[in-house]
């Protein structure tokens, strides 16, 4: 299907260019770039920290930032990938489920920790973090199930129609969240979808010493990575070692055949949607503890999930993991290692850079890195 000339050497030209660009970028980060000169001024090699050789500590910190952010991305995107991969449903309401999960968890944590005016991490013990999660995830799972059974069950196969239905639901849910959350704040901050946040349990407010070039790293972010890895391992075990998982994988490969073999494919769809929505809520609890939640972030996280799944390829957990890692790495490394020629350039352009890169990945491999077929 390539519109390029079929003569052999030229056919490889785009791939050669791509490989060269990637190699250059890696070398730039690792070796070529240099820290800002003491006396001021800059050239194309100047970056914030210099290369990995100049400042290995910063390099390791950015690396850890990337991989921990990838953990959070993976949690949210894996739910999306599961639904997308099995049911071919682009659940555009995934962001709205994320937002609702975050706010519900916030309400629970506020209720549990009393109505005082401050909530430092040391006041929050592990239960006060787990129970909001244990309430929010099933709530969102039920909402997801209701949506799937009412609106998506009977028009299986009509991808565009289902995408439009979920868009409508996301608009309604997002608007209702603005009207009803947050509830346990006071005064002008009540309702309106204002920004609120969760607190991690107190024991995560420490730094872990890596004994390498003076690098100490936040334990909370490592916990986030651990949760992401746990979700990945859990999903892998479920999909590859249990019967339900086998059915799901079969459904991803060939829905018609699976159902023709007498397997209740509808029940499998429902389970997948429930798990996918619960993962959105888990991701919301994790990231709200890390940062905050506010109306408007549903669009952000839907976009993040879409990007991860499109880049990694739909239908597989490895794809979601690979997409999350690539997206997080490009975003974080470009924000830290793009050249800085002064205040006007360039690290603030990291989102543009990231998305242009994604468009290019998709132009070379439309089905994503680990996707199968178009």
């Amino acid at each position: 299907m390539s519109s390029l000339a079929s003569s052999r050497p030229i056919r490889y030209l785009p791939r050669i260019v791509l490989a060269a660009t990637v190699a250059f970028a890696l070398l730039y980060v690792l070796v070529i770039s240099s820290p800002p000169p003491v006396e001021g001024g800059s050239n194309w090699r100047t970056t914030n920290f210099g290369s990995a050789i100049d400042d290995p500590g910063s390099f390791v910190r950015v690396l850890l930032d990337s991989i921990t952010f990838a953990g959070a991305l993976f949690i949210v995107a894996s739910g999306f990938a599961l639904i997308f991969g099995l049911m071919r449903v682009v659940n555009m309401a995934h962001g709205a489920f994320y937002l609702l999960g975050g706010y519900i968890a916030y309400e629970i944590q506020q209720t549990m920790t009393g109505q005082g005016f401050s909530l430092s991490g040391t006041e929050v013990n592990t239960w006060e973090w787990l129970i909001p999660l244990a309430v929010a995830a099933p709530c969102i799972a039920i909402v997801g199930l209701a949506v799937q059974q009412s609106f998506l069950r009977w028009n299986q196969g009509q991808e565009l129609r289902q995408a439009l239905i979920t868009i409508a639901i996301s608009v309604i849910v997002a608007d209702q969240i603005i009207a009803h959350f947050p509830r346990t704040t006071s005064g002008a901050q009540r309702f309106g979808g204002n920004a609120v946040d969760l607190a991690w349990p107190g024991w995560t407010e420490r730094f872990v010493d890596f004994h390498f070039s003076g690098v100490t790293y936040s334990l909370a972010r490592l916990v986030m990575l651990a949760i992401g890895v746990a979700v990945g391992v859990g999903l892998w075990l479920w999909l590859y070692r249990t019967k339900t998982g086998m059915v799901i994988r079969a459904g991803v490969d060939d829905q018609t055949m699976t159902s023709a073999l007498g397997i209740n494919i509808q029940k499998t769809f429902a389970i997948a949607f429930v798990i996918g929505s619960a993962l959105a809520a888990l991701g919301a609890v994790v990231w709200t503890s890390q940062s905050n939640i506010a109306s408007g972030q549903d669009g952000q996280w839907l976009l993040n999930s879409l990007v991860v799944v499109i880049v990694g390829g739909m239908g597989s957990i490895f794809g979601a993991a690979a997409g999350a890692v690539l997206y997080a790495f490009v975003l974080n490394f470009s924000a830290s290692y793009l050249p800085t020629t002064g205040s006007n350039c360039c690290t603030q352009y990291s989102p543009i850079f990231t998305f242009v890169l994604i468009a290019l990945v998709l132009s070379f491999r439309p089905q994503g890195l680990f996707g199968r077929g178009g």
Partner: protein, 368 residues
Amino acid sequence: MNPAAWTRRQQLERAIAFGALVLVVVWPAVGSSYWAHTILVQTFFYGIAASSLIFLSAYGGMVSLAQTALFGIAGVIIGNLATKGGPGGVSKGLHLGWDPTLALVVAILMTTAIGLLFGLVAARSAGIYFLMITLTFSVIATYALGQVTNISGFSGIGGINEYTPGWIGDILEHPNRLYYLALGVAVAVYALIRYVIRTPFGLTLQGVRDDPIRMSSLGYSVPLHRTLAFGFAAFLASLAGILYVWWSGQIAPGNVDLPETINLLAMAVIGGLVRIEGAWVGAFAFIIIQNYVRDFHVPGLSFGGTLFGGSFNTIIGIIFLVIVLVSPDGLMGLWGRIFDSRRGSRWRRTPTQRGPSAPGRGGETTAA
């Protein structure tokens, strides 16, 4: 165009269309000025933008979310070229102060070129992947307009409607000129699309929509046709974008962000993704809802808002949902079903459902 040969439905449709056209032509003289210069003008140019989306979906089999981005890009280009003042200063932008007619032509050409470039990148994707990659373009456009402050910046470029070409004149003094210009361009765009789909290119495009593998085995280049279709749609979107900036005077990243993209998709879906007429029907319906539902309160269920405490977005979401559930082909699909229910056959121009990449596949026989 032999009236005697028209079917009953075509007669009715054409009569209504004729009546509506006469009505909008005389409206500035007889009707409310707010309707003319806000609601109807917006219907004309948002309808053009929606028609570019529907053209791609109905005749190209591609649902594109990048039309809003192209709409905004055209506005930004003409804003940078036509306004005066030097960089920075009064508002952001390059303010090159070119002759407005030249700026107009360059803006259209550049947007079409950008559309062709997007198309080149997206042409090998299909179906949901195409939707996603066009969404990526939309996001790139939002960030680019927001952060590249030389060309726009977050408050955008203002005062663009002071620099209209001489042959249009001052539209702030004479808003009817913009009204008739928008009406004229909308009619011309409609005629142009109807013409293009009958050309060999248009027919091949519909073939590519229906069965890309067969077309490619017949020797037609599928990516080329998709790219060209995308470029044509970009051309249409650029016309809409330029009319928008002449109407509002300002273009900003908020005009191309995700909610605006979804609004344009909603207009197209409400009208119906299968017929070009749906573009203007959907745009009109959407603008009416947006204007009048704000003050609408569901008695007994408002809870301090319009519905369950929410704002008019809840109502729009519900209307959108109902339309997609009941009639995936939108209002035009409902209209078509009034005529075909007896015969039990679908209106013929619905794209045939083959392959996973065609939109709106299946399910129509069970709908009420």
